[in-house]
C-alpha cells in the first residue's frame, strides 16, 4: 500500500516536471511547429499577390529595405547612427516615392547568404544591397531586378612600380581575393581564358586582403573596381598603386524585388528611373521648384501635373518629384557618395547619362 503510494507520487512528480518542461519547450518551439499547421500545401517560397506588398507597406507606414551595413560608399552607419551611402540613398528614393518622406524606412542589414531568403520570405520589401543581376538570380531565385543603379566591373590593383599594365603581364603573380564571392570564380574564369598561370591567395575579409597587399605579401588583389578605388584612397601612398583598365566581369548592381507582385516591381523600377530622368531633365533637389509650373509637357508629366502616372502605379502622382525633392537626382546621389568631393573620387564612367557617353537611360515618363 505504502509502496504504491510512493510510486504514485513519483509518477505525479515526473509528470509535473515533464509538463512544465514541455510547456517551456512548446513556447520555444512554436516558431517551428506553427507553420506545419498553417502553411498547408504552400510552396517553399510563397509568392505575394498583386498589390499585396504596397498595401502591407502603406499599412505599416514604412518600407523595409534589405541593405549592406559594411560597404564603404554604399552602405554604412555614420557617427550619428544614421545609415548612409549610395545604396541607402536608393532606399530613401523608394521611401520618398511612397510616403513623401525619405526617412519612412527601416534598413535591415543582411549578410550575403541570407539576403535572398529575406527577400523571398517577405521579411524585406526590397533588396538594395550591391547585388549583381544575373540570369540565375533573376529566374531561379524568384527575384526581379529593377534597373541597374550602378554598373561595376571586377578590376585588379597592382603596385605602380611593378610596371604591369595588362592582364597578360600578371603571369605567375600572387593575387589576393576574398573567398565565397563571385570575384573568386571570375578571376579563375578570365585567367583560364587567357591561359595565364597565377597563384590565388584567399582571404575571408577585405581588410585582410588590403593588409596583405600593402605589406607586400601578394603582388595584386582583385575586387569590384569601385571597391578598389575606395581602398586606394585610404592607402598610405595612393599614387604607388594603379588599377588595370581591363575588367574581369560585368557587375550590374541594382534594387531587387520578389516575383509575383508586378505593381510593387513597377513602383521600385520607376522610382529608381525617376532619378535618372531628373538628371536628364536637369531637375535637382535645389531647383525643383522652378519646374513645378513648367510648360514643357515632358516636365509636366514628370512632376505630376499631367498624365496621372502615379495613379497608374497606385501611388501619388507627385511621386517622381517627391523623390527628387528629398533625395535628389542620380548625379546628386552619385556625387554625394562616390563623387569628386568624397575620398573615393570615382569617375562616372559607364554610370553616366547616355548623352554623356555612359549607359544610363530612362524610358520616357508618359
Amino acid at each position: 500500500m505504502k509502496k504504491k503510494m510512493k510510486l504514485l507520487t513519483l509518477l505525479l512528480w515526473v509528470t509535473l516536471i515533464g509538463s512544465v518542461f514541455l510547456v517551456a519547450c512548446a513556447e520555444d518551439e512554436d516558431t517551428t511547429s506553427e507553420p506545419n499547421a498553417a502553411s498547408g500545401e504552400e510552396t517553399q517560397t510563397p509568392e505575394p499577390d498583386e498589390g499585396d506588398t504596397l498595401a502591407a507597406i502603406l499599412d505599416r507606414g514604412y518600407v523595409i529595405v534589405g541593405g549592406n551595413n559594411q560597404l564603404p560608399g554604399f552602405g554604412y552607419v555614420n557617427s550619428d547612427g544614421d545609415y548612409e551611402g549610395f545604396d541607402v540613398d536608393f532606399a530613401r528614393v523608394v521611401a520618398a516615392a511612397l510616403f513623401d518622406d525619405p526617412d519612412a524606412l527601416e534598413i535591415r542589414p543582411l549578410s550575403a547568404q541570407e539576403r535572398f531568403t529575406a527577400l523571398q520570405t517577405g521579411e524585406v520589401d526590397v533588396l538594395i544591397r550591391n547585388t549583381t543581376w544575373t540570369l540565375d538570380r533573376d529566374v531561379a531565385l524568384g527575384t526581379n531586378f529593377t534597373p541597374t543603379t550602378f554598373y561595376d566591373g571586377q578590376g585588379i590593383m597592382v603596385r605602380a612600380d611593378s610596371g604591369i599594365t595588362s592582364l597578360e603581364e600578371l603571369e605567375g603573380a600572387r593575387i589576393g581575393v576574398e573567398t565565397g564571392t563571385t570575384t573568386e570564380s571570375n578571376l579563375a574564369d578570365q585567367f583560364r581564358k587567357y591561359g595565364i598561370t597565377y597563384e590565388q591567395v584567399l582571404f575571408d575579409d577585405s581588410d585582410a586582403v588590403v593588409e596583405a597587399y600593402e605589406s607586400g605579401n601578394i603582388d595584386a588583389w582583385t575586387t569590384d573596381k569601385s571597391g578598389l578605388v575606395s581602398r586606394q584612397a585610404t592607402m598610405a601612398s595612393p599614387d604607388d598603386h594603379s588599377i588595370l583598365t581591363e575588367s574581369l566581369s560585368k557587375e550590374p548592381l541594382g534594387p531587387t524585388v520578389r516575383h509575383g507582385d508586378d505593381q510593387w516591381f513597377d513602383i521600385v523600377k520607376w522610382a529608381t528611373l525617376a532619378t535618372i530622368e531628373a538628371e536628364e531633365l536637369g531637375i535637382t533637389s535645389e531647383n525643383y521648384e522652378e519646374f513645378l509650373d513648367s510648360e514643357d509637357p515632358v516636365v509636366r508629366r514628370f512632376v505630376g501635373l499631367e498624365g496621372e502616372l502615379g495613379q497608374m502605379l497606385g501611388i501619388d502622382d507627385t511621386f517622381a518629384i517627391n523623390v527628387i525633392k528629398h533625395v535628389g537626382n542620380y548625379q546628386e546621389i552619385y556625387d554625394r557618395n562616390l563623387g569628386p568631393d568624397t575620398i573615393f573620387n570615382l569617375g562616372r564612367g559607364l554610370n553616366d547619362l547616355y548623352t554623356n557617353g555612359g549607359i544610363l537611360y530612362s524610358p520616357p515618363f508618359r
Binding site: 512528480w13 516536471i17 510563397p46 564603404p72 552607419v77 527601416e106 549578410s111 531568403t117 529575406a118 581602398r231
Partner: protein, 400 residues
C-alpha cells in the same frame, strides 16, 4: 656528516631560509645564473622590448583613436534614437542602484564588481570626449551606486529585498528598451552595440538556466518518453555549432513560416542562443546531480521526504552550488559567442564595429576598432571570471 645535517634541519625548524630575496638577487638567480640563461635573457629581452616598443608607438602615436571617440555612442547603444536615449540611461541607473544595493547586502564579490563598474563610470566621466549630457548621467550612475550601497547598509532583510529587486528589474529592462506602447516604441533594429550584446547574452544566460535544470532532471527521469526526448535534444544541440543554429534561425525558419507571419529576427536569434545554451547548461547540471553522493538520497528517504522534496530541497541546492563556477564559465563563453550574430546581420558590438569601419571618414582604421572592442569584451569577460573565482573560493567548492 650526520651531525651537520641535523644542525641544518634544526635551523629550518626554527626559521625557514628567506626565499624572498631582493629584486637584484632574484634577477641574478633566475635570469643570469649561468651563461646560456644569460644569453636567453638577452635575446628574449630584446624581442620583448622590440614588440613593446612597436605596440606602444602604434597605440600612442600612429593609431587614430578618433574613430572610437567620435563613434562612442554607436559602440554603446548603436542606432538607438537620440531622443529616447534617456531610457537607456534610466535603465542603467536602476541597474547601478541594484548593484549598489547588492554590494551593501552581500558585500564580497558583488562589492568588488561594483567597484569595477564605478571605475568604468569614473573613467568615462573624466574622459575629454564624453558629451556633457552624458557626464551628468554618468554622475547619476555613480550616485545610484553609492545610494544603493548606503540604503542596503541601513535596511533590514536587505538580501531578500535585493533579490526581489533584480526580479523586478528584468522586465523593466525590456519595458524601457522597447516601450511596449506606453513609451514610444523603439524597433529591435535600433537595439545595437554593446546594449544588444549584453541583452542577448543576458537573455540566453538567464533563460537557459531553468531550461537546463529541467532538461537535466528530464534526462535522469525514469519515464522513457521524457528521458529519451531530453537525451535527443541535448545531444542534437551539442553536436551542432552555434553559428549553424544562428543561420538556421535567420535563413531557414522564415522559409517554414506561413506567408504574412514573420518573427522578429532578434527574437529568433535570442531563441536560438537560449536553446543552444540550455543544452550545455543541462549537461553541467547533470554533472552536479551526479556529484551528489547516494547517501544524500538515502538520508532524505530515511527522514520521509518524497522524491519531489528530495530533488528540490536536498539534491538540487547542493548540485547547483557545486556547478556555479562551471555555469559562470559557460556564461562567459556565451557572452563572447554573441559576437557570431554579426555574421547573420545583427549589429551587436562586433556588427556595429564593422559598420563604423566602413564609414568613408574612418576607412582603414579597422585595427583601432577591433582592438577597442576586444578590450571591451575583455573587461566584461574578465570581470565575470574574476567573480567566478571569488565565488568559488567563498563557497569552498574546489577545496572540499
Amino acid at each position: 656528516m650526520s651531525v651537520d645535517l641535523k644542525i641544518v634541519e634544526n635551523k629550518q625548524m626554527i626559521a625557514p631560509p628567506k626565499t624572498s630575496a631582493s629584486l637584484w638577487d632574484w634577477v641574478r638567480n633566475n635570469l643570469f645564473n649561468n651563461w646560456y640563461n644569460t644569453i636567453l635573457t638577452f635575446v628574449a629581452g630584446f624581442i620583448i622590448i622590440g614588440i613593446a616598443y612597436n605596440v606602444l608607438s602604434w597605440v600612442l602615436f600612429e593609431a587614430q583613436w578618433t574613430v572610437i571617440t567620435n563613434n562612442y555612442r554607436l559602440f554603446m547603444v548603436g542606432r538607438y534614437p537620440l531622443s529616447e536615449l534617456w531610457r537607456i540611461w534610466s535603465l542603467l541607473t536602476i541597474v547601478s542602484f541594484m548593484f549598489g544595493l547588492c554590494s551593501g547586502s552581500f558585500k564580497g564579490t558583488i562589492l568588488r564588481l561594483s567597484g569595477i563598474l564605478a571605475g568604468i563610470y569614473l573613467i568615462h566621466l573624466l574622459a575629454p570626449f564624453t558629451a556633457s549630457s552624458s557626464k551628468v548621467w554618468l554622475a547619476v550612475q555613480l550616485a545610484g551606486l553609492v545610494i544603493g550601497f548606503l540604503i542596503a547598509l541601513k535596511l533590514p532583510y536587505n538580501k531578500r529585498i535585493a533579490i526581489i529587486g533584480w526580479v523586478i528589474t528584468i522586465p523593466l529592462v525590456f519595458f524601457f528598451i522597447h516601450g511596449f506602447g506606453i513609451l514610444p516604441e523603439v524597433r529591435t533594429t535600433f537595439w545595437n552595440g554593446l546594449l544588444l550584446t549584453v541583452l542577448l547574452a543576458g537573455v540566453a544566460i538567464i533563460l537557459s538556466f531553468p531550461l537546463g535544470v529541467l532538461l537535466a532532471l528530464g534526462r535522469t527521469s525514469k519515464l522513457p518518453a521524457i528521458k529519451y526526448f531530453c537525451i535527443g535534444y541535448i545531444e542534437l544541440i551539442r553536436a551542432v555549432p552555434l553559428i549553424t543554429i544562428f543561420l538556421m534561425a535567420q535563413v531557414l525558419i522564415p522559409l517554414f513560416l506561413p506567408t504574412g507571419l514573420t518573427i522578429d529576427n532578434l527574437l529568433r536569434v535570442m531563441l536560438g542562443a537560449t536553446l543552444f545554451t540550455a543544452a550545455y547548461a543541462a549537461e553541467n547540471v547533470r554533472g552536479g546531480l551526479q556529484s551528489i553522493p547516494n547517501g544524500q538520497y538515502e538520508a532524505a528517504k530515511a527522514i520521509g521526504l518524497n522524491p519531489f522534496q528530495t530533488t528540490f530541497f536536498i539534491v538540487l541546492p547542493q548540485a547547483l552550488r557545486a556547478i556555479i563556477p562551471t555555469i559562470v564559465g559557460q556564461s562567459i563563453s556565451m557572452f563572447k559567442d554573441t559576437s557570431l550574430v554579426a555574421i547573420v546581420g545583427l549589429l551587436d558590438l562586433l556588427g556595429i564595429a564593422q559598420s563604423v569601419k566602413s564609414n568613408p571618414e574612418f576607412l582603414g582604421r579597422h585595427m583601432e576598432v577591433y582592438i577597442y572592442i576586444a578590450f571591451v569584451y575583455w573587461v566584461i569577460a574578465y570581470s565575470m571570471s574574476y567573480s567566478s573565482r571569488r565565488i568559488e573560493k567563498s563557497l569552498g567548492v574546489g577545496e572540499r
